[in-house]
Amino acid sequence: MAESKLDLLQGTLDLMVLQTLAALGPLHGYGIARRIEQVSGHAVLLNQGTIYASLVRLQQRAWISAEWGTSRNNRKAKFYSLTKRGRKQLSEDTAYWQRLSSVMGRILSMAEDGDSK
C-alpha cells in the first residue's frame, strides 16, 4: 500500500452522493456507498456508516428525499432520490468544483526552479 486512501474534504461526500443519485436514480444508503467506492476505484477512505450523516444533512436541506421501499432482492430499505432543488444544487456545485479543481490544477502545476515534475 504505497498510496494511502484519500481523506474526503469537507462537503465532497455530499456532492458525490448527489451525483450518484443523479446518475443512478433512487438508491438506498448501502447502494450509494458501494457505488462511490466502485467508481472511485476504492481510492476514497469511506466508512460506509459516515454516509448517513451526509444523507440526513442533504435531507434537511431538502436536496434529496427519502422513502422506505423494497430492494430488488426483497429487502426493506430507505431509498433516497434527488429533488428538484437537489438537482439545481448539484449543477451549481459541479460547476464550482470544476472551476476550483481547474484553478487548483493550474496553481499546483506552476513550475518551481529546478524542481519541476
Partner: protein
Amino acid sequence: MIDWIREWFHRFGSFFRKPQLDRELDAEMVAHLKLAIEENLQRGMSPEEARRQALIGFGGTEQAKEHHRETRSLPVLEILSQDLRYTLRTLRRDRAFAAIAVLILALGIGANIAVFSVVNTILLRPLPFPDSQQLTWFAGSHGQGPLSGITYNVGSYEEFRRHNQSFQEVTAFQPFWGSSEYNLTGHGEPQHVQAVMVADNFFRTLGLEPALGRNFLPTECAKGAAPTVLLTHAFWRQQFAADPAIVGQSITLDNKAATVVGVLPSSFDFPSVFWPGLRADIFVPAIMDEIRDWGNTLVILGRLKAGVSLAQAQAEAKALLPQLKAAHPEWFMEYTADMSSLKDYVSGKLRRSLIVLWCAVGLILLIVCVNLSNLLLARLASRNKEFAVRNALGASRGRLIRQLLTESLVLSCAGALLGVGLAYAVTYYLAHQGSIVLPLLSSVRVDGTALAWTLVLTLAVGVLFGIAPGLMLSGANVQENLKDAGRGLSEGRKHEVMRSVLVVSEVALSFLLLVGAGLLLRSFLRILDVALGFQPSHAAAITINYDDGNDGAKRGVILQEILRQVKALPGIEAAGVTDMLPLDRNRSWGLLNPSRSYPKDEDLSAIVRIVTPGYLDAMGIRLTAGRDFSWQDAANTEGVVIINETGARRHWPGESPIGRLARGMGKAPDRVIGVVADVRVSSLETSPGSEMYLLVTEASPEGSELVVRSKLPSDVLTPMVMSTLRKLNPAQPATGFRPVEALVDHTVSPRRFFVMLVSIFAGLGLVLAALGIYGVISYSVTRQTQEIGIRMALGATAGHVLLGVLSKTMRLATLGIGFGAIASLAVARWISSLLFQTAPADPATFVIMILLLTGVAGAAGFFPARRASSIDPMVALRND
C-alpha cells in the same frame, strides 16, 4: 440562506424527535448490513467472512450514529438537556436545599422586579401622553412657596399664550384641589363631585381625545355660556354605569343644569399625574373672564414646537414675561417661569429616593447571590466525590463547571418564576391602594420592560452565584477527591477561606443596608416628631355644603346654627369650620404691618384660612397670645385677624402684635386679636411662613370643612353628624369624615413608603447574613468534629470550645462590620439630601446597627458553638 434556515429548523425539530429518529437510523443500518452481507455471500464468502467484511466496510456503528446525531441535531442542546435532567434529579434528591435556595432567590428577584416596576413607571417610562417629552411645566416664583406662588393670573396666561413662539399649545388649569367642588343631585344620593377647571385647549395640548363625545368648544369657555362638563372614565362608570347615552344629556350640579359633552379615555388619570392621592371626577371649562380678577389661579402647561428645546423656550419666556408685565401695570406681580419637562415636575423630586430604593434592592440581590454561593459551596464540599467520579468517567472540567452553572441557572430561573408572581402581587397592591401618595403609582405594573429586566437579572444572578463554586472546582484537583473524604484536608480549608470571604462581604453589605435604613428611619421619626401646630388625634373633618348666596352675614348665620347643633350632639367636644385644612389645600394672600417699611422683594405672602370661632379649639391649634374669634366680631365694622408666631415675629419683631393693625393685600386693615402656633402647611419637613386666620363673615371662603373633636368612632360619628347636616340642608352630599390623622399620614406616606421598603430590605439582609454566618460556622464545626474531639480529649473544656467557635464567628462579623462601616460612611453622605435633622454619620444609628448586627451574628454562631461544645470526644474519635 433559505437552505441554511431550513437546515437549522430541521435540526431544532430533530432534537425533540430523538427516539423516533434513532429507531429509524437503527433500522436503516440493519438493512445496510443485511444488504452488504448478502452481496458478500453472493461473491462466495463464507457467512462469517461476509458478516465480518460488511462490518469492516461500514466502520464503527456507534461513531456513525453519533455523527448522524450531531449532524441532524444541535449538540449544544443535547448536552444542555442532559445537564438539565441531571440537575433536576440532583435537586429532587436535595429538596430542602432547593426549596430554601428558590425561596431566597424569589424574595430577592421578586423585590427587584417590583421595585424596578415602580422605578420604571415613575422615573423611566415617559408620561402616558403622546410625545410627552414636549410637555412643559411652568413654575412661577422659581417654584418656591405654596401653590398661589407658583401659579399665574389669567392675563399672564393669555398674553403668554398669544405672544410666545416656542410652543404649539399653551394651556392652563386651575390646580387648587377642592376649589371647584359641586353637589351632584338627581342621580341617587347627592354626591360630592371634584371638578378640575381647564382651559379650552387643555386636552388638545395633552394630546387626548375624549373616548366618547367631544372636547369643550371655545364658545363653551366664554362668559355666559351654558355649563358643560366632561366626565372621567372612572366617574362615568361608577356614577352613570358606563351608559353611553349620558353624552348629550344634562346633569344637575349645584342645582344648575350642565350638559355632558363627553367622556375621557380610561387611560387618562389626571390625579396620578397632577394631584397624587387626590380625586378628580369631572372637568369643567375655566371661564377666564370670570376668574380674571381672582389673582393667581392657573397653572400653565405648554407643548413645545417640534425642534424647540426647553432652554430656547426658557430663554424666550425670560425675555417675554417682563415685556408682558410692562404692558400690564394692573398685574400684582412680575411673573417668571422656571420651565421643566412635565415628567421632571412629576417625578423629579422622587428621583433620589427611587434611586436609593433601587440600589437598596440591588444590594439585597447581591446579598442573595453571596448567600447562595455559600450554600452551593457547602453542597460542593459534600459533592466532591460525585464530581471526582464523573471526572474519572471522562467528564471534562469544563463540562463539570457547565453542570454547576446549569444548576445555579435552574435555581435562579425557578426563583425568578416565583419572584415574578410575587412582584405581580406587590405591584397590583401598589396600583390599587390609596394610602401611598406617589404620582403615577396607579399605573404600576409588571410590563414587558420589567420582564426583560427580570431575564437579565436572572441570568446575571445565576452566573454570579454559580461562579464561586465553579472556580473552586476548577482550582481543585478533582482526582484528589477520590481519595479525600472531603474532610480535614487542604481542600476543605480552601473552601472555608472562600466561604469566610463570602460571609464577610455578606455582613458588610447587610451592614450597609442597615445603616441606610437606620438613617432613613431616624429621619422619618424626626419628621413625625415635628410640631405640627395642631392635634390630629381625635379630630375629624367633613366637607359641608350650604347656600349662602355669597353673603358673609348670611354665611355667619348658617354656620353658627350648624355649629350650635353639631356641638349639642353627645360626644362632640369641639367643632369649627375652616375653608382649608392644614396639609390639605392652601392659598396665600399678603400680610404686612402698615407702620413698617419693607425692602422691595420682601416676601409678604401669608397662608390664609377663613374660619369660624371655635375652629382653633376643634383643630387643637394653640393660642399663644390674645383670643379666638367670636361671633360678636362679625357684627363689628372693624375686621379682625389672628396670625401665627412666625408672622408675628416677621412683621412685629420684638413687640406684641395684639391690638395692632395688620394689612392684607388690597384690603382694609384688620385688628390683630390673637397669635397662634405655626401650623404646617403642605409638608412636615418645611416650616411654614406667615399664616393668618380671617373670620368667615369677613372674607370669601373656598369650600367648608367642618372639624369636630370627638372620641367617638367614625361609624357612630358620621351618621349622627350627617343626619344633623341633612336636617339643615337636604342637599348635603354624602361624604364621610376624614380623620385629621389621615391628612398627616397622607403627607408623610411617600417617605413612609420608602422607609418601609428600605427597612424591609435591611431586615431581609440581616436574616440572610445570619443564615450565612450560621452556615459557615456550622459547617466548620462539622468539619472539625474530630479535631475538637481530640482537643477535648486532651483537656479542653466545653467552655473553651464554645468560646473558640464564638470568637471565630465574631472575627468574621467584626471584619464584615468594619468594611460595611467604611462603605456606609461614604453612602450615607450620598443619601444625606434624603435625611431630615439626621447627620449622615449619625453616631446613634451606627452604634445601634453595630450592636444589632453583632448580636445577630453572635446568635447565629451560638448554635453551632453549643453543638461543638457538646461533642463527646469518644464518639467523635470513633466516628470515621
